[in-house]
Symmetry: C2
Subunit: 278 residues, 2 copies
């Protein structure tokens, strides 16, 4: 996917899931089924991660972009920081509010296949009236900050997001505009997704294999493992005679919690089993 093809604010509902091959290999599922947008994927990613790189304009050496390690929380779509006035980044922000925050997924395998988001905007100190909600949100994410939150040199800052660069891995990237960013919501299944995936892969691989055989084009699937789940559906890696292939199936209704996700998966498995029986 070139920069232009999905640049701007377009919402690529057809973005291939992780692991999809970029070669000219036939997709074994319908790419037009509901899929999280880049804004949603980016919001979900930053909501799960608490550390990143804050980029500020260095005053010494002057005029260089300066990267520093920070902890952050997200409040109404904007990252907030609790930083010391003695730190370099804070001195830099006092001279220029121009900044960005890079948030990157950690994981095994090729690091460039992992997701990352750059949030760009102006970062400045919160006014007294804004501190309370920032404090609650920040300490909920970073409990250990309670030991320095009341130090006199520590203050809350907010990066007011005006532009977002999302990279989901090789060739899956776009600029997300301000409006899409603030309208998007972090995936409600995100806090439970690892548990669901683990459970499905331990106990329900046969059911997923039948789903691949009957609800996708992976007719000869001999095994399937879940690789991802979100409010709109779930993704599997199906073992086929051509090797592992990505499959995505959509839910009938958006799932907003574990129970709804379970019920949507059960419906799909029932559909697949019915086809087996006929």
């Amino acid at each position: 996917m070139s920069e232009k093809e999905n640049g701007g604010s377009s919402i690529p509902r057809h973005a291939p899931p992780k692991g999809a091959r970029t070669q000219e290999q036939e997709l074994l599922y319908d790419p037009n089924i509901p899929t999280p947008t880049h804004s949603e994927l980016a919001r979900t990613m930053v909501s799960k991660i608490g550390t990143g790189t804050l980029c500020t304009m260095s005053t010494e050496p002057d005029g260089y972009p300066y990267g520093s390690f920070v902890t952050f929380a997200i409040l109404e779509g904007n990252p907030i920081f609790l930083i010391s006035s003695l730190a370099e980044h804070t001195k830099n922000l006092t001279a220029s509010s121009k900044s960005s925050l890079l948030v990157a997924e950690a994981g095994e395998g090729n690091p460039l296949a992992l997701g990352r988001v750059t949030l760009i905007g102006d970062c400045s100190r919160l006014s007294d009236g804004e501190v309370d909600s920032a404090r609650i949100e920040f300490l909920e994410k970073h409990e250990s900050a309670s030991f320095y939150v009341d130090f006199k040199d520590f203050h809350f800052y907010r990066l007011q997001v005006s532009s977002v660069r999302y990279i989901g891995g090789f060739g899956r990237m776009s600029w997300v505009d301000e409006q899409s960013w603030f309208e998007a919501e972090s995936d409600p299944l995100s806090p439970f997704s690892n548990d669901i995936i683990e459970h499905m892969n331990e106990d329900h691989r046969d059911a997923m294999m039948i789903c691949c055989q009957n609800l996708s084009k992976a007719k000869d699937a001999s095994d399937a493992v879940m690789t991802g789940i979100d409010r709109y559906g779930f993704e599997m890696s199906a073992i086929t005679s051509d090797g592992p292939r990505p499959i995505r199936l959509a839910f009938r209704n958006e799932a907003t919690n574990s129970e709804e996700a379970r019920s949507e998966i059960v419906s799909l498995v029932k559909d697949a089993r019915k086809i087996s029986e006929t």
Copy 2:
């Protein structure tokens, strides 16, 4: 430790090891024994890590510091990158070479207690004559890059380090000057340190406890685990009646490989045992 106390290019041989308390608690070992300098710690850290955040000057939006995820290798003290001319950071570098690279340690516990280094300087494309050595070094660190190293849009870039900010964790930080950076060498034990630590903690805790009792002020140590090792000595956490306390012991001679490290540790344990016997 304030920014000024150990700022500039000073070489803080007395930097407390990881886990040292910052309160006014008596140190249980001699803080003036040989200890890696901040330049050495920083060189060692970047040599172990292959990913970081490249900060460049954004052209769109204009004038903002832009953070992006990159893989890198170190060649003669400078980070080198293999990046696509289609990527945002490469477009940015074409307009301005001003840049920095943040490299951060990963690990458990409080993220702000972990080390990180910012390398600041100008980043530009390598000339044809410089590509060969960069290619070898880069592919040795990032084998998977071999699949795109020959793509026409990928080129090698080098960030020529002119200034270095080192943060070893809470309160342990300094600016490292250019000369110290290039003169410093990554710790020769670094590739083996995890194995040595694991071996010592599995099989030689008694010996380390005796070292703490007789070669440090932790006379009542009831247990000790190794927490770090470098060319100049090793660090332990000694269990005392005041709880866990950091201890550092220096080698008689610099250890440049596992065998020399083993022999230096054996010497220290012998010294400690002799004192027990008298």
